[in-house]
Symmetry: C2
Subunit: 315 residues, 2 copies
């Protein structure tokens, strides 16, 4: 009998549950609206029923190896979700312990960026790599660091918060309460803030001058850049410069073989990958130069969140 | 029979060879002038003779477990010293392979800061810790990062060059060819540069105004600070602020339990440890606050270079 893994991606809006084969195929999948489950108990029994339903659906040739879960503020060590700002359950919920009441297999939770990192290692471009970094450029900047073939969880399970390293001292206000965090510059929201900064500081014409801050998306900025909009191109360049400089710092600490970029902004490959690499090289200690690749995730376009969560329980 | 380890600290001026017991005692020790050995072959046979001589000296109750070596630009993976600017042998020398011709035991080389890190883990304050960081504040800033109980070497053996992360973009010129590296601010030379910057920018009286840049030492700055010299006190504060901010970045990546400080500047415990901690807390993501200790190395005052090198081959 073949083994399969269940990957669960818990987001603020939806929870996606998928059954994943060892060759990275999602054999069955279902989605439920996370924010409709005010009662955590009800959420857990629904997850249980869906997992059983999906396993029935894939048929009797497969047995369940384990359940991997990616969730905001998911703690690998405790198995809990702790103080997740955009989930309906307040304080701490014992996700792994509750699911263990129903499934006698390996069950693991971590945050979404770490799940994506494991996904890249097990199914993606980092196969066989012992030392690499994953950067997810979404609403914020998430990261996962792999050292000696293992994901770095740190002493409390919260390692890999590179998005909250300081890019510019006293800089932009961050949702975490600090100022100048990397994710306030390098993320879908970060590049939008950069566009509006450039609109103030530069006189170049731009269609973005007619769009409000609330309405503008990072996809718009990409589209304008492709049309040759100077402000949009400058915003991509500035984003690459700051990301490149901070990645150079990260390289001095862990010396990875490669940095993978995932998330909405990574789809703008031609405007962000090569330029980030160029700036990183400028700030690198000579001993690291021309050694570290920057690559788009090999899993762009897939449901990396579900694949990565499933990969958490891979053999 | 008890096992002992040999620790060798290769410095630009001297090489110190010590036989170290498992309870961190140096049982026998000898020093030779590194820069007198222009011929690498001659250096190796001298090391061989001294190791044999010291083992005879400690007596027949002990057998040699292994030889650990801390050397500038020592590469753990290759066993070579590569392009060390202040050693007499140019290019690459095959240190481990050459010594293996004479000794049938484990022989390992790494750089001096990494050796100190292992020393802290095996004999010092980091005993039992799985995740910690070591910072050595000497002429430069060296570092070692331990994750899941293992020292991080990275993909090429050169991880842990935190001293060359960027503290201030476009800042002070560094010996590595870049500008703004952390060690140009936080090290014995860094604090001296800060003193001279303060002398230019501030009008406070200071005896240091009568001392040349070449003559002033970090020990002097400490002594003046203890006498209440305002410029010296400000220099310690500025050093702590920059180190604290950059340590906050490092914490977001690896989430260590503690940061240990070693080296000349660490002797100024009262002026650097608490203030670095204060600034680090200011820049930390809330989830990490009040979790990470900053501690002086428990091996201050010992020959950590020899102990750490010996610890490289500990069981």
């Amino acid at each position: 009998m073949k083994k399969v893994s269940v990957g669960i991606d818990i987001g603020g809006t939806n929870t996606v549950i998928g059954v994943v084969s060892d060759d990275a195929k999602i054999l069955a999948e279902k989605s439920i609206p996370t924010n409709k489950f005010i009662e955590f108990d009800n959420y857990i029994t629904t997850l249980r029923d869906i997992i059983n339903e999906l396993m029935l659906q894939v048929g009797n040739d497969f047995i369940l190896r384990g359940i991997g879960i990616g969730a905001p503020n998911g703690n690998y060590y405790s198995g809990n979700i702790e103080q997740a700002p955009n989930l309906p359950w307040k304080g701490k919920v014992c996700l792994v312990d509750e699911l263990k009441k129903y499934f006698d297999c390996k069950i693991v939770v971590t945050n979404d960026a770490k799940a994506a990192t494991i996904g890249e290692m097990v199914y993606g471009g980092a196969k066989g790599m012992k030392n690499f970094v994953m950067i997810t450029l979404g609403t914020g900047l998430g990261s996962g660091v792999v050292v000696n073939g293992n994901l770095v969880y740190g002493s409390d399970g919260f390692a890999g918060e590179f998005g909250h390293s300081i890019a510019i001292e006293g800089g932009r206000q961050c949702g975490c309460g600090k100022r100048g965090c990397l994710e306030t510059y390098c993320s879908a929201t970060g590049i939008k803030r950069t566009v509006f900064e450039l609109i103030c500081n530069e006189n170049y014409p731009s269609k973005m001058r007619d769009i409000s801050f609330s309405d503008l998306t990072s996809k718009d900025i990409y589209d304008f850049a492709k049309e040759g909009d100077k402000i949009a191109l400058m915003a991509f360049d500035k984003t690459s410069e700051i990301l490149g400089r901070k990645l150079a710092d990260l390289v001095t600490i862990t010396s990875p073989e490669a940095v993978f970029i995932f998330g909405g902004l990574a789809n703008a490959k031609d405007l962000i990958i090569a330029s980030t690499k160029k700036y990183m090289e400028q700030f690198l200690l000579p001993v690291f130069r021309n050694k570290v690749s920057i690559l788009p995730s090999a899993l762009l376009g897939t449901n990396i969140a579900v694949l990565g969560s499933a990969a958490l329980v891979a053999d």
